[in-house]
Chain length 409, copies 2
């Protein structure tokens, strides 16, 4: 007998019919003799509807009251799913975040989970019930309702799986797994049967928005086996664990990309200790997030310093950098907001040499000029002109044979 | 500094604009220096919308889950009102029933309040906050969400007023008080400034559905001064207390009526001990509520037995009675489902003779035939043909001069 936590997002419970579909799926699993905990989001659109109501009441709605308001969305879906399960003859019981209880800190609208009381859930599971828990919400030590921020239902599911030492945590969504890259860019993209947490984190943070980063971090921290799969079609999805797959000994697992990048360069900066801080300090103070950072030493005791920011922050960052340029007596500031980042990700890099050169050779053969390079242990990112994005992704996908299921190791 | 509990029903919070209107009203009272606790219902229509969703999920929705579902309605309004108050610069804090906490028994969908923890509310009031509480809902000893049944928000308000020893509990509704009779039947009906709990109970149970009977009973039991007034227009409404008014020394306070009655008679019943039980036992077993009961002794050692039921139960009750007629060897069963009950209510009856005869004389002058009579200490009810309802009410209203403000005692 296994214990599973299933999480269904807003699209998966977006209508009466879909909630009934979820009930069927849950009942099937329960009938096989497994213990099932279900975590639900609000019906799609409901949270936005409630936020719109709030904004009509108050220009900047109080965050504590916002949490009281929007937490009703999941409370509705857990009750409805429990009823649908009862209708199918499957015993079930709903819980709000406060009832479980999912204890969080008091940072309303983006609270963090501190503790989960697993005893009542275990008791219900032992009675043969499906336990249906409202995602996204918790309660602080004073009894105030809190929410975990957008996508927080994934975090709830993983936290419950950790507290209950579940065999797997299934995240049901509208895609059927994690792909080697975005199928809209490369139709040959292939669903991965398995990926490691580290790879998933790199894929997610680079723009493959299947799972919330926080929930993946959380799953990794508590060693919860995560499986991403579709609410709407059958399939085994993609399993995310620590172990490297024995079946898929690929050099790289996927290609991530990010269209929302812009790069900024300050040249002729006197190469003195502390210069990086002098350049990036004002940027950080303005709450602008910096992604890639590259520094070259020039031959005249000056350095060129390049970094990327979100495209929305480009103009603000440029203005700050121009002031820094004056302050440091640097040469000049240049920038480009029509660049993208393309990354290859894979734990196979650790044990295989030559992956970077294959990447650079592939791009060179397509005449794609590389504007920046940044590497980590399991990732190589390049910045290229925006117009080359699709070409670069497809060429790399082919070069690393990501469309083919890897041979056994 | 006084402490008031204000309760606003679903119509009063039925839209964004109305919630803002409630916020204005609450702020005005708060600005005068009084302590205000607000109890809210769900926006009108919301509870029915949620029930409809539930019925799509399950033929007979589980009551525990029903409570989880429909309690979200009030949770939404308390958050929205708190935001509206904040927008007006008035400090406020929302509470669900579970947070307050309003401890109830575990009878889902019609729970009874067992205890209220007034400490957190007092603490917030002491900080100068308006405390906004979700009506209609509570929590049982196991942490399950419960609801008090339709109209339960009135009960929440009265229970809070009792727990907090509030100076008055204001029930804001869509009528501006309790009237001498229904103004749709007698346009000269006059709003009463004051009425006693006993009178209110008789008026409410007889069909003047301004307040939920349970909340009036509750207010009487805990001696909470209740005031019924309009959300939409200014005025002092009607105060309901134990004291008999010094100002209004009327013989009777109002005329109630009930259109939904039907009467049944079984004649020629052998007049033996236990016969009433033999007649009414099967009716009660079928969960049919009996209202008036009249028994006459005939001269031949048999008795005629007449009672009234709700018109919806007429045919069922008649079938049962016909079986009883056979069992008891009684003569026959007759019935009439086009009758109504008209009652005059007033604590003045206790100390004044001749009120019944005034009532009967008035009806006789209008040629209205009285079909049944029943009396209690502060009420006289008669059953008349349906067609005479309006005539009877207007004639009695005039005869007892209910359109005139009574002279001082």
């Amino acid at each position: 007998m296994a214990l599973y936590v299933y999480k269904f997002g807003g699209t998966s419970v977006g209508s009466i019919e879909r909630i009934k579909g979820v009930a069927e799926k849950v009942k099937q699993a329960h009938d096989l003799g497994d213990q099932i905990v279900v975590v639900l989001s609000a019906m799609s659109g409901e949270t936005n509807r409630l936020i719109a109501l709030a904004k009509e009441m108050q220009v900047q709605p109080t965050e504590r009251e916002m949490d009281v308001l929007i937490s009703t969305g999941e409370q509705v879906t857990v009750a409805l799913l429990s009823m649908a399960l009862h209708q199918l003859g499957c015993d079930a019981c709903s819980y709000t975040g406060a009832q479980v209880k999912i204890l969080t800190d008091s940072v309303h609208t983006k609270a963090r989970i501190l503790h989960i009381d697993d005893a009542p859930i275990r008791a219900h599971l032992a009675e043969g019930k499906v336990v249906v828990v409202a995602g996204f919400q918790g309660v602080d030590e004073y009894g105030n309702i809190t929410t975990l921020g957008r996508g927080g239902s994934d975090t709830t599911a993983v936290a419950l799986a950790a507290a209950l030492k579940a065999d797997e945590c299934h995240i049901y969504t509208d895609v059927d797994g994690v792909y080697t890259t975005d199928p809209r860019v490369e139709p040959k993209a292939r669903r991965l049967n398995h990926i490691t947490f580290e790879e998933m984190l790199e894929m997610a943070s680079l723009g493959s928005k299947v799972l919330q980063i926080r929930s993946v971090e959380f799953a990794g921290k508590y060693n919860v086996a995560l499986r991403v799969l579709s609410s709407f079609k059958e399939g085994c999805g993609t399993l995310i664990t620590y172990e490297e797959s024995q079946m898929e000994s690929a050099l790289i697992s996927g290609i991530a990309f990010n269209r929302d990048e812009a790069k900024l360069t300050i040249t002729g900066v006197p190469d003195l200790p502390g210069v990086a801080f002098k350049i990036l300090g004002p940027i950080a103070d303005a709450n602008i997030e910096v992604d890639m950072i590259v520094q070259n030493i020039a031959d005249d005791a000056t350095t060129d310093f390049t970094f990327t920011v979100h495209r929305n922050d480009y103009l603000r960052a440029k203005a700050l950098l121009e002031q820094t340029c004056v302050d440091l007596s640097a040469r000049n500031v240049t920038g480009d907001d029509s660049i993208v980042k393309v990354s290859i990700v894979g734990v196979g890099m650790r044990s295989h040499a030559g992956i970077a050169s294959t990447m650079f050779k592939t791009l060179a053969e397509e005449n794609i000029n590389i504007r920046m390079i940044s590497t980590s242990e399991i990732k190589i990112s390049v910045v290229v002109d925006e117009k080359y994005l699709e070409l670069a992704v497809r060429a790399l996908h082919a070069a690393f044979e990501l469309d083919k299921v890897p041979a056994n190791a």
